[in-house]
């Protein structure tokens, strides 16, 4: 009888104030691709870190190939055939691919490492040049480096944490081919995700976590999205209603915006033109690192080097205005980074209101204005209530909130300002299903109320759900827009590699179609 590759029994890990894992059991057979499904904060990461040896459980047993084992650190985990690819890459930008991989394998020479990278890359069809510096790689390529690094340890169990969040649909397909080949060779894979369709395509077993407890073990290929999400969040996400609506006046016009990169690993913006009208949602798709960050910096005013006349709100040239001045004209912006940019981690929610809101400021002439503390706290409480933010109250530190709840607060803070132009980046990145549905609902409500909305996202599903028109950004250039009714995942996926210019669309560039 074959032993399970990995068997967890009764794993419990408590932190002060929260039980991250409570009596979790999990069995992974050799060659099985096993999904661990759960919302943010459900305890997936803690469980994986326990398997990988970076956290010690309070109780419970880990068995590897039938033998009880205590893994003290990641090094021991690797020695026992467990490898992990993290969501956030651990690569040094200025070093080459081979040098990065070499770091973990000090016993071999750089030439040997280079040779084994090429061998592994060929074996699995992972196209990579070991001599390239990491900063020249796309995010998808960086992930390949991480996967190769993991494969070089010849793992029997490979853990992947949300591996597709940074990939184009085509790159996801490629990744799945590699993973299926690995599984067919007997390697077990633990696949962490909250994307239901991926799990149903790839995995043959699934353990669902909610609030640190196992709520179900199933074969995802025999389940529906609805039944999986019931296990995951205890309910089905509400369906969004996207009502057809005539777009109104133009609220944001970007004309031929070119901008040299600010930092050396950035992207130059190249002739970007874009138009967002009242009552419509315009989406910008694209793999991260293709100029989204730079474009948003220019639009928000955090970077006000844009040439005069290139960015207009209604008829006013705002290219040179700083963020505060653009905000006074009705532009509100939710950045991708929540902690440290959208909110100050160590300040209370109430104080974080002051970043973009001046409702509780009196006497603006005196030292920038007087903070009316009571009014500020009441305002924060009102937003917490209106947007259903789970927080200890207006005094809770921003960093004490889960990602989803902080995002709800930040989105709420900006929507509550009644913007005429709303720009949001990665609105639901790392946010659980329930909160994501709520945030998308808020975006649509804003559009229905006549606000012009620009959504930049890497999640195609999300863009298809909320947008009226779609652009794609690739290598600092922006594609023409397509009405959502004419957009398909394949077409947008192709455009994400920058391929729109070869097609007939190029001639229609700049023209917009309204539903």
């Amino acid at each position: 009888m074959t032993h399970p590759r990995l068997q967890l029994t009764g794993i419990t890990k408590a932190y002060p104030g929260v039980v991250a894992n409570s009596d979790v059991s999990l069995t992974v057979m050799p060659g099985e691709t096993h999904a661990v499904l759960g919302e943010n904060g459900a305890g997936k990461s803690t469980l994986m870190k326990i398997i990988y040896g970076s956290i010690k459980p309070d109780a419970g047993e880990v068995r590897l190939n039938g033998q009880p084992i205590v893994i003290h650190n990641p090094k021991e985990a690797r020695a026992n055939g467990i490898s992990m690819v993290f969501q956030h890459f651990n690569l040094f930008d200025t070093m080459t691919v081979a040098e990065n991989v070499w770091l973990g394998l000090a016993r071999e020479s750089l030439e040997q490492v280079t040779a084994s990278i090429i061998a592994k890359a060929n074996e699995y069809g992972l196209d990579i040049d070991p001599s390239r510096p990491v900063h020249t790689l796309s995010v998808g390529e960086m992930q390949r480096v991480e996967i190769i690094r993991a494969l070089l340890t010849r793992p029997e169990l490979l853990i992947l944490d949300e591996p597709t969040s940074v990939l184009t649909p085509q790159a996801v397909e490629k990744l799945f081919v590699v993973l299926k080949k690995l599984a067919s060779e007997g390697c077990s894979i633990l696949y962490i995700s909250h994307k239901l369709h991926e799990i149903r395509e790839l995995c043959t077993a699934c353990t669902v976590l909610r609030g640190g407890k196992v709520t179900g073990v199933c074969n995802p290929q025999e389940e529906s999205n609805a039944s999986l999400s019931r296990l995951m969040i205890g309910a089905e996400p509400p369906q969004l209603e996207h009502r057809p609506q005539q777009a109104g006046e133009s609220r944001l016009t970007v004309k031929n915006l070119s901008l040299a990169r600010e930092d050396q690993f950035g992207v130059d913006l190249d002739g970007i033109s874009l138009d967002v009208r009242a009552g419509e949602v315009v989406g910008i798709a694209g793999v991260s690192g293709n100029g989204q960050k730079e474009l948003l910096y220019a639009l928000s005013g955090e970077d006000c080097r844009a040439p005069a006349g290139s960015i207009r709100m209604k008829d006013k040239d705002v290219s040179k205005l700083h963020p505060g001045a653009r905000r006074r004209l009705g532009l509100h912006f939710v950045p991708e980074e929540r902690l440290g940019r959208g909110a100050v981690p160590t300040l209370s929610l109430a104080h974080n209101l002051l970043l973009t809101r001046t409702g509780s400021i009196s006497n603006p002439k005196f030292a920038g204005g007087w903070i009316q503390v009571k009014k500020l706290e009441d305002h924060a409480s009102a937003i917490i209530k209106a947007f259903n933010v789970k927080a200890g109250g207006p005094h809770a530190m921003a960093k004490s909130l889960s990602g989803g709840n902080l995002q709800k607060f930040i989105v709420g803070r900006e929507i509550d300002a009644k913007p005429t132009l709303f720009i949001v980046s990665q609105p639901t990145w790392g946010v659980d299903v329930g909160a994501a549905a709520q945030i998308r609902g808020e975006i649509l409500a804003l559009r229905d109320a006549g606000c012009a909305v620009l959504v930049v996202s890497e999640e195609l599903e999300e863009l298809f759900e909320v947008s009226d028109r779609l652009h794609v950004i690739a290598r600092g250039k922006l594609s023409p827009s397509v009405p959502i009714a004419q957009a398909t995942v394949e077409k947008i996926g192709e455009w994400m590699s920058g391929l729109w210019e070869t097609g007939a669309v190029a001639e229609r560039g700049g023209q917009h179609h309204h539903a």
Binding site: P335, G340, R341
Partner: protein, 370 residues
């Protein structure tokens, strides 16, 4: 979330006792205030060991540091005389440190402030009225600001590191001082001492109590502490400065100018240090002298951190540091110990504080393993 560092030792019975630091979910409110007190206790204990090692009665030693400075109203006055410049400089520096502008050149700004103030004070004649005090103080503020402005300008124009620039400018300021008191401003009847003539009586900062050297400077310092509290916690400008310090990307997102923060912070701290210099030369000292620099500008950095960068906390830490100054002098004159003891105590306190601050974010767990 990860558990932090571990250490272990064997107890008598052969069991291994694990000492483990576990990250707290929230910073401990208790240790935010408890840590400086524990640091003080450790400093005292190490001090006792130090006195014993030097062959002195530790009780007598501690008495010099912790009893002598508060035993009489005169002693208390002296305590305040030294606490005043420490507190005023620290208040300004805390604005810098909160906005992550690392000005460590307060000593230089203090000296230049004193020089500017002396320049005005030396203009006074026998017939000049008391009004001259105000221009003297203003000149001190302007001098300190001007010196800090050099640092701000170089940082603003060339992105020059403000830590290095402000520190180097301290030594330039000291050279300017020794040039003036040894050259153009030297008292012709001063037996070649590096000092100016004694200022006219009209220039003296009003004293608070008869028979004490304590001036209204201490009141200015306390008012400054209250004003700083209001600025930091009740005005949007103060808020913007601090956001720039703890989360620069958030400040940029909000539209708070980092240049304005740089200039505001350096002007406030430069002005405060300059004011302290003016209060010192026109107050307890009464002349500009080459012996003016007593390291207040540097000691104030410790005052800031021991006082938790908080306007009220710094009042207490300034008094504590002032005790170390006086205690060091007492230990020298009464016990025959070296005056460097002051610096040793200051350093000990800072080190212990940094160590104890671990407890704010981590809790210590003992685990027994057999």
């Amino acid at each position: 979330m990860d558990c932090g560092k571990q250490g272990q030792w064997r107890s008598v019975g052969g069991n291994i006792i694990m000492l483990k630091l576990e990250a707290r979910q929230q910073p401990s409110n208790f240790w935010v205030y408890g840590s400086p007190l524990l640091a003080l206790l450790i400093t005292v204990l190490v001090g006792v060991v130090l006195f014993v090692a030097l062959g002195k009665d530790p009780l007598r030693g501690l008495e010099m540091f912790f009893w002598q400075p508060i035993r009489s109203s005169y002693a208390l006055g002296e305590l305040m005389v030294k606490a005043t410049p420490l507190l005023i400089i620290a208040l300004g520096l805390s604005v810098c440190f909160r906005s992550n502008v690392m000005n460590i050149g307060a000593e230089g700004q203090y000296v230049i402030g004193a020089i500017f103030a002396s320049g005005v004070a030396l203009l006074a004649e026998k017939t000049t009225g008391n009004w001259i005090v105000l221009p003297i103080l203003l000149a001190g503020i302007v001098g300190g600001m001007a010196w800090a402005a050099l640092t701000a300008l170089l940082r603003d124009l060339f992105n020059a590191n403000e830590i290095l620039v402000s520190l180097m400018l301290v030594y330039v300021a000291l050279q300017v001082l020794s040039y003036l008191v040894g050259g153009p401003w030297m008292d012709p009847q001063g037996f070649n001492f590096p000092q100016t003539k004694i200022f006219e009586a009209a220039t003296h900062i009003p004293r608070l109590i008869q028979g004490s050297r304590m001036t209204i400077g201490i009141l200015i310092a306390l008012l400054g502490s209250a004003a700083l509290w209001v600025f930091l916690f009740r005005t949007r400008a103060g808020f913007a400065l601090q956001v720039g310090g703890i989360a620069p990307a958030a400040a940029r997102y909000a539209g708070f100018s980092s240049r304005r923060a740089l200039w505001t912070a350096l002007m406030i701290s430069g002005g405060a240090a300059g004011l302290a210099g003016a209060l010192e030369v026109a107050g307890p000292i009464g002349q500009l002298s080459g012996f003016l620099p007593a390291g207040y500008g540097f000691a104030a950095i410790i005052v800031v951190y021991v006082g938790r960068l908080h306007p009220i906390g710094m009042v207490f830490s300034a008094i504590l540091m002032s005790m170390f100054y006086i205690g060091g002098e007492m230990a020298q004159s009464r016990l025959g110990l070296t005056k460097s003891l002051t610096g040793v105590f200051q350093g000990l306190l800072l080190f212990s504080l940094l160590a104890c601050d671990t407890l704010v974010n981590y809790s210590v767990k003992f685990k027994r393993k057999t």
